[in-house]
Symmetry: C2
Subunit: 262 residues, 2 copies
Amino acid sequence: MPINPVDPRPPSQQIADDVRAEIEAGRIPSGGRLPSTSELAARYGVTRETIRQAIARLKSAGIVSSRQGSGVFARPRPAMKRLGINRYAKSLWRDTGIVAFAADREASSRTWSPGDQTQTVSEVAADPQVAEAFGVEPGTRMYERARLVAEQGVPTHTLTSYYRPSDVEGTRLVDAAPGPAGRGGGFAVLTEQGLEPHEIQEDLTARMPTPREVQTLRLPPGEPIVELHRTTYTADGRVIEFARGVHSASHFTWSYKFKIPE
Amino acid sequence: MPINPVDPRPPSQQIADDVRAEIEAGRIPSGGRLPSTSELAARYGVTRETIRQAIARLKSAGIVSSRQGSGVFARPRPAMKRLGINRYAKSLWRDTGIVAFAADREASSRTWSPGDQTQTVSEVAADPQVAEAFGVEPGTRMYERARLVAEQGVPTHTLTSYYRPSDVEGTRLVDAAPGPAGRGGGFAVLTEQGLEPHEIQEDLTARMPTPREVQTLRLPPGEPIVELHRTTYTADGRVIEFARGVHSASHFTWSYKFKIPE
DNA sequence: TAGTGGTCTAGACCACTTC
DNA sequence: AAGTGGTCTAGACCACTAA
């Protein structure tokens, strides 16, 4: 469809909408390459720069991504992993040594290698959020366990857990060894310490990523993130873990099923 | 900070990062106006067009928004409304006639006027998602109740519910009257029909909005949306409502608390 | 090496807001 | 009327990829 000079939308917007329609109609397949910017410029009778503006709009919308020297491609939608509360089921980590982390992988029937997770443990001062979760003063020393989780080499999310030093000191949780908390997972370790997880609160919010998050998760333009806050309690209401996750939005769905309260 | 020619980041990126830092440090207050593009151009020794590129980056990141003829402004972060499962509590709609919808408003201690919600009811053919939720054939006739919810005149989300015609035919739910389902809310009506809601499943996913969603929710550039799917069951497992919500991400946090399953 | 996307400039015109 | 952001052009150069 050529440019319509009567159309109130500027040419770059018309072109963007046009290309978007091509993609959504499947005429440009998912993952397929768009015509080169020069060709589009000739086709629509505008400058290459105008085409770039149109492409820029589509990038912000998460529709396409570009590789310099190679082309502009319709962004394929990755398979979504569904995160339900059963990923925390006690049977998964109580005796078996399987952990929620690995259970997620198995549920999605994709191969998993331990190298998909990198982990660093350090002692840090509690920021206000962490402090509030534990009910301590900001600045209190805490253990921080930061993980970057990848799927087939593609980073999908970060997950940073905080623990009271007195709860985890001397356990394998605070070893710097990579993998799911040494072995057995954080919940198993806490259980061994007499602090069995019993209840979880999860808070979710979505936003655009910071430049730093773009870098560590290698996010394409137009990819939002979901920030997850997880607070874990024992049966008597004691907070034993607070975790912050940053998830590449297009890889996940969260699913909760609950009885309607009185 | 002037442009650094050795820096690998292109000038427009350096400027964007620079301005972002100004905002995050509070030197440009939330809601405040940035210097004009001409002034920034002079300050950094680049063209206005380059400044526009820098601003474009910040817009995609949801950091600023611009009003033609007026200026570019640091986007204020709206107060977040926390959505917990108590917004569905039976006590809120069973006898009182208050509905989850209105209860949300009260919990957030903001004034609410019925005009904040517009509603249209129609009969439609089930799309695949709706069909799957109810376990019927795609194309089956269903009632659709579409609502656009606003907060102080600002649209915050849409919510479109689907019902089996046999469940709601002849009730005030299918009146085209505006407001929360006439009066009493959808859950109250279903209860009167002998179909008391008992369990809910919510699925959440975040993504960038479609052009259509941008229009109806009047979303600024760089604002992601959260798509919420809600399926409501009776005590014997019958699906009585399926709803799809599209929420402007920066207005909401979802909060779930649950016991860790065995 | 040829082709791709990424960036920038200098200048122009337009649409909108504010005074 | 003056100032603001929005868009487009024509041309140039650069960085990267693939043959």
